[in-house]
């Protein structure tokens, strides 16, 4: 008989693992990715692939040469997920070299400088995206013309590029304009927003990053993640709920200047952010109560930035700001301890 193995209890383990969760999120993103192929064609495939490959390569290289091979998390799916999420946040006609810079900032600055997996304060994909937004504002807000599915439309080619009005920029202009109806009338219908059809509309509202256009695909992804218990409902529902309620209030007060709350929650990066970016494990609070507070604050910040800030889309910045508050929330919001409930027969 060989040696007996000894260890401390527990001696059993569930089937969960880091890989299962990370690859599970990637699978949840597949409907949105497929929708993006439908709408943006080859461009979205090239952007996403470049982003994933760049992120995985940078993580491998930093771990090997700077960390001295301390952690081998390259294959656990987290770098690939960051890459995919970064790609989903970019327009499909972004030049390759900009994508690579974004990946470097996302993985290098957003994740590895803090110590690697589990140590970062800010969502790496959002760090990458916001750096690109601030450094390359023109390329990041230039959308491809609709219909060019089999071509990778690099935005530096002026013939193929188009700085178009997104639904969000229309809503923003409507708030401060004297003729708000002119803008609000141009908004796509709710069904179009849900399915993303506005991308292919002839009026060249081919506007939106790869992942954000088809809200329905994102919601399918959310259902998948809830079913597999990868995330819980608290963060996405609190974000979307807050935005819905507040924008609903504003719509009730002044329907002329403000878009309807359904249109608001289906436009821009709200769905993508609420479902995939804000729910990132590392940067969101650990308790459900904390996640609700986190979600409500993100919702409020998003509306503030969208309506009164300089940028049409406030989701990324709102999430990054609340990421900074997560440790504070973790410190003060504790789960209900057993035994705190008063006795009742």
């Amino acid at each position: 008989m060989g040696k007996l193995i000894v260890s401390l209890s527990p001696h059993a383990h569930g089937t969960d693992s880091v890989e299962r969760n990370m690859y599970g999120v990637i699978i949840a993103l597949l409907p949105a990715l497929l929708a993006s192929f439908w709408f943006f064609g080859l461009g979205s495939a090239v952007v996403c692939l470049t982003s994933v490959v760049a992120c995985v390569l940078f993580e491998w290289a930093i771990n090997r040469f700077i960390f001295g091979n301390r952690q081998n998390t390259v294959l656990d799916g987290s770098a690939a997920l960051t890459g995919l999420l970064l790609g989903m946040n970019l327009p499909s006609n972004l030049p390759l070299w900009i994508i690579v810079i974004g990946a470097l900032f996302a993985i290098g600055v957003g994740k590895m400088t803090f110590g690697g997996l589990g140590q970062n304060i800010f969502n790496p994909a959002l760090v990458g995206r916001c750096v690109l937004l601030v450094a390359f504002p023109a390329q990041m807000t230039t959308w491809p013309k609709a219909g060019n599915l089999l071509v990778y439309p690099v935005s530096s080619d002026p013939v193929d590029g188009l700085t178009g009005a997104t639904p969000l920029s229309l809503m923003k202009q409507a708030i401060t304009s004297d003729e708000p109806q002119k803008y609000l009338d141009q908004l796509p219908s709710t069904l179009d927003l849900l399915l993303g059809n506005h991308v292919n509309a002839a009026g060249a509202l081919g506007a939106g990053t790869i992942g954000e256009v088809c809200a329905l695909a994102l919601i399918i992804g959310l259902c998948f993640m809830l079913w597999r218990k990868i995330i819980t409902w608290h963060t996405p529902v609190s974000i979307i709920g807050t935005v819905f309620v507040v924008s609903g209030l504003m719509y009730l007060i002044d329907p002329a200047h403000y878009a309807s709350p359904v249109q608001v929650i289906l436009s821009g990066g709200l769905m993508l952010g609420a479902i995939f970016m804000a729910t990132d494990y590392v940067t969101s609070p650990m308790t459900h109560k904390g996640q609700l507070i986190y979600g409500v604050c993100i919702g409020l910040l998003t509306i503030v930035i969208r309506n009164w800030g300089a940028y049409p889309e406030g989701m990324s910045f709102a999430i990054l700001i609340m990421n900074a508050f997560t440790p504070l929330i973790n410190n003060y919001v504790k789960p209900k301890r057993f035994g705190e409930v008063p006795a009742k027969q």
Binding site: K3, I5, V6, S7, L8
Partner: protein
């Protein structure tokens, strides 16, 4: 020109007001500290290791000054600075100190991988504390070193390291300051602070196994079996055998090494002696092997 003048006056005024406020605060809220505390603190090594029993050198300085005021600084010793530093501090405070012998950490286990075979495989968090809670460890000796290196983690002077061949920790005499951190961390109380000895020579029983002799030998070939031969040999009554294990009192030991020769298992170690005999105590010697065969 006007605006430059205005800017200079405004900023200069703010600076002046801030300086006055800070000066007033520093006077009004000043805490009086005995200047001797600062002076003593300068003399102390500044490692904040806790070897003196206080959290940091500041705490020790405080205690020394208080002790000086109350008449004696006996019982206060900085193991890192040693008698040199304590002498300087005593001079500064105008006190006398008792001479204390330098101490060193001693690992009292010789159950290396060759002498103490593994009977189980441990799977899990590799710290001595965890393995100790799990059972006897990977060997049959429930008192011996677990080899996971909690002592190495605890040492702030880089003075103790696990030898990868033997699996046991080894103390670097020159770096060890006898602060006691490793001794406190070891869950089996194997590491003891003992006198460094004249010319750094010392004799100790390298085993803490309290099982009966036969059981202890089955677990480890270099175990102390509590036979008592060493105690009989010792003319200075320095050795006591209690709970099937021998212990040498370092205050009474005269380093004559008669016990080392008497020990049938080679459990007693003599460190830093000139190699007059080939009997190096880390492996069982020829005579001992013969004894085992006839037993």
């Amino acid at each position: 020109m006007d605006f430059i003048l205005t800017a200079v006056i405004v900023l200069g005024g703010i600076g002046l007001i801030a300086a006055i406020v800070l000066f007033v605060c520093s006077k009004k809220f000043a805490v009086y500290e005995d200047p001797r505390i600062g002076q003593v603190n300068e003399l102390l090594p500044g490692a904040n290791c806790g070897g003196c029993g206080f959290a940091g050198c500041g705490g020790m300085a405080d205690a020394l000054v208080k002790g000086a005021d109350s008449g004696s600084i006996d019982g206060l010793n900085c193991p890192v600075g040693g008698s040199e530093v304590m002498g300087q501090v005593a001079d500064l405070l105008g006190m006398a100190i008792a001479n204390s012998d330098p101490m060193v950490a001693v690992v009292r286990c010789n159950g290396s991988c060759t002498l103490r075979p593994k009977v189980n495989e441990y799977s899990g968090l590799r710290t001595c504390a965890a393995m100790n809670a799990c059972g006897a460890g990977e060997t049959a000796c429930g008192f011996g070193c677990l080899g996971c290196g909690d002592c190495v983690e605890a040492c702030e002077f880089d003075a103790i390291h696990i030898n990868p061949e033997s699996g046991l920790p080894e103390v670097d005499e020159d770096k060890c300051t006898a602060c006691g951190a490793c001794s406190k961390t070891c869950p089996r109380h194997i590491i003891e602070l003992r006198k460094k000895g004249p010319k750094n020579r010392r004799v100790f029983v390298s085993c803490v196994n309290k099982d009966k002799g036969a059981v202890a030998m089955k677990a480890c070939k270099a175990a102390c079996i509590g036979c008592g031969k060493c105690a009989k040999e010792c003319k200075f009554e320095a050795i006591t055998v209690e709970g099937n294990v021998a212990y040498i009192d370092f205050n009474k030991c005269r380093l004559c090494k008669k016990c080392v020769e008497a020990c049938p298992t080679g459990a007693i170690h003599a460190v830093n002696f000139p190699a007059s005999k080939p009997a190096a105590p880390t492996e069982p010697t020829e005579p001992t092997k013969a004894k085992e065969e006839t037993a």
